[in-house]
């Protein structure tokens, strides 16, 4: 059915395992890290896992995995997609990731300038269920006072109580 491939070939297992590893590390970074930069890196790893899968998927024959499964396990097959949609999409992902990391790093930078920290657990004021949530944010701790994260977490700060 599909003609044999002339050039070098690659087994599908390699890129899939790589993508799985990248995704796993990325999810770990997203969920377990407290530092904003490291969380960001986790997100980037997830994106790259997706990119690897896209490139690998674009090399699949017509009919995708099902078609591949029907042929012999060891017989290499030609990619059926002349436009290489998976690879083009990966270029888009890389571009968007570059823009995204620029914005995200700018946010992290501003956060650090304001709070002297990039610890995500220290900046929870916007969450309604968070212990530092206040209904009237203008009376709460403001960034201009440059407080330490520990005092920013407590709703009652000494300088507001003092006359």
């Amino acid at each position: 059915m599909t003609p044999p491939v002339d050039g070098p070939t690659l087994h599908l297992v390699g890129p899939v395992v790589l993508a799985a590893a990248l995704a796993g590390i990325g999810v770990y970074g997203l969920l377990a890290r407290r530092n904003a930069v490291l969380v960001l890196i986790g997100a980037e790893l997830l994106l790259n896992a997706a990119g690897v899968l896209l490139v690998a998927g674009s090399a699949l024959p017509a009919g995708g995995l099902a078609a591949l499964r029907s042929t012999s396990q060891s017989t290499p097959v030609e990619s059926a997609d002349p436009l290489l949609a998976g690879q083009s999409l990966t270029i888009f992902v890389i571009t968007i990731a570059a823009a995204e990391i620029g914005v995200a790093l700018a946010v992290v930078l501003l956060l650090f300038r304001a709070r002297r920290t990039s610890d995500l657990t220290a900046v929870r004021e916007l969450g309604e269920a968070s212990p530092t949530y206040t209904e009237t944010p203008q009376t709460a701790q403001t960034p201009q006072t440059a407080q330490t994260p520990q005092t920013a977490q407590t709703p009652q700060t000494p300088d507001r109580v003092a006359p």
Binding site: L30, T121, R124
Partner: protein, 653 residues
Amino acid sequence: MTDEGALLSVVVPAVFAAAGLLSGRWGRQWARDSAILGTLGALAAAVVELVGVLRDGPAASIRFLGRIDVGGGTTLALDLRADQLSAIVAVAVGVVALCVQVYSVGYFADLPPTGPHIPDAGTPEAPTRYPGYAATVTLFTAAMMLVVHAGDLTLLLIGWETMGLASYLLVGHHSERAAARRAAVKAFLVTRVGDLGVLLAVVLLIAAEGTTTIDTLARRAAAGEIDKTTLTAALVLLLAGVAGKSAQFPLHTWLPDAMEGPTPISALIHAATMVAAGVFLVARLLPLYLAVPGALAVAAVIASITMLGAALAALAQEDLKRLLAWSTISQVAYMLAGVSVALDATGTAPGIFHLLSHAAFKALLFLVAGCVIHLTGSTLMRDMGGLLRQHRSMAWLFGLGLAGLAGLPPVGGFWSKEAVLTAADDAAHEGHWTGWLVLLVGLLTSLVTGLYAGRAWSMVALGRDVAHDPARAPEGDAVTEEPHETPAPEHVPHKLPLSMTVPLWVLAVPTAALGLVLVNPPDLIAALHVDLVTSVTGALLGLAGVGWALSAPRLGAPDIADALPAGARALLRDGYRLDDVQDRLVVRPAMALARGVFAGDSDVVDAYVRGSATVSRWGGGVLRRAQGGLATGYVAWLVVGAVAAGVAGMVLS
């Protein structure tokens, strides 16, 4: 000429009423002018109509609102008609309405701050609201004119209901007072019960006969083409409406309470418009009533009960206006009785003649009562007294009105009342038991009427000079500073304005001299005759009552009602406590039902609405716990969602 007169007598007050209601903010001057012009125009048109009718004969059908196709092949002709009945009653309505409008100008004038307290005078807390009042009076007049001229029962119903609305607005005019609001609602609801009867009768006639044109119905009824049962049912239903509007037993309870309205309104309602409408309706439909005698017997029984009962209640009243209200109920019962003993189509004469004389003397009485209330600042008769010494002319006018009420010769009230009794006498000699009933009860009522009329005279006109009695007047009052030695009209607290006294003299003329009409009567009352024996009996009984009441002060009691046992007097004063019965039978069940409906609405229907709000709030409270503020937490939800989507994709594919 007849047509234009009839048409204009309805249209002119209606237009001026609409203009007055829409332009109430243009000021008092304009309101006064438009109100007086509206009623004056109505009166002029009615006079033109009367001249036309007397010269050219009646006009059976005058195009007014055109024809309405109500479906089922039935077309209602909303036309007016003009005959002697409508023209004469319209003139009476116009005269009384014009007098009331002119009187109201003075009655609602802004009074100087000194002088006694006037119940109806304007204050910053309770303004007179004269423009709306005047326009509503004009509307009232227009509605009555429509009832009088309607040639079709459906058209009549329109005027009938408009009158109910106007009476509600005017009785509750001083809406700052809870009593006035209650009286207005009561008047509206009680008359509404009767109005339902009229509405059902109209529907019944449309369903059975396909027409509500009075002429057609009368022709068919005379020819016996209408099913007797249907006709009797419709006429008895109409009697319910008559009892409501004309304040006859058992729907009379609203009228004494309606005294909460301004006094000129009492004059208007009692003399010419509202209560007269019921009697007018029976007179207008007399050809139908004659076709089935049962309905007239019902009317005669109602009238007899009301006549005597209301007269006895009037005897025990302490409030002058309530006394006059009960006397109205009694006198309207005379009218209804006069029509109900009719033997043929000319039998409307005694009832309508009494309606006219009653319109004159009752309007006069109420307007004089308004003046007296103006002067003394109280509506209670024991606060009055000595009117004859202070205001001789006013007292004589009051006496003239009372003479008409008691039926003393030779004033108009004598001729009309004796005409009713004579008609009853004739019916009795024709072998009708209703004639005997009306005759006997009417004669007895003559005596009681004389009694309470004499009592009113002795308490208001004679009696102590309360206003100049230092023992009765409060300390520091301006009244006590008057020199007691020369009690003369110049020294009363304030002179009555001319606009309040002129209508009295205008109304005094027909009160005194209406009997002269009988010298050369129009066709409507040509059949009227006054039997010598009956009239002498009635007049003697009336005179005996007056004399009895007047002799009471000489015998030591200033008030003839003191002779009654205390319990009976209280019972009569409260109108036989029918209000309590009504309260127990109607008001409380209705209120209980209303509370039940309210509870059902708030506890069942609204519960679903409130329940959705509760569920939403509870759901929000749960969901806000996910809003922890930790960015990582949000990402965790994202990952969970992605995994779930992936698992779902794998399971489903």
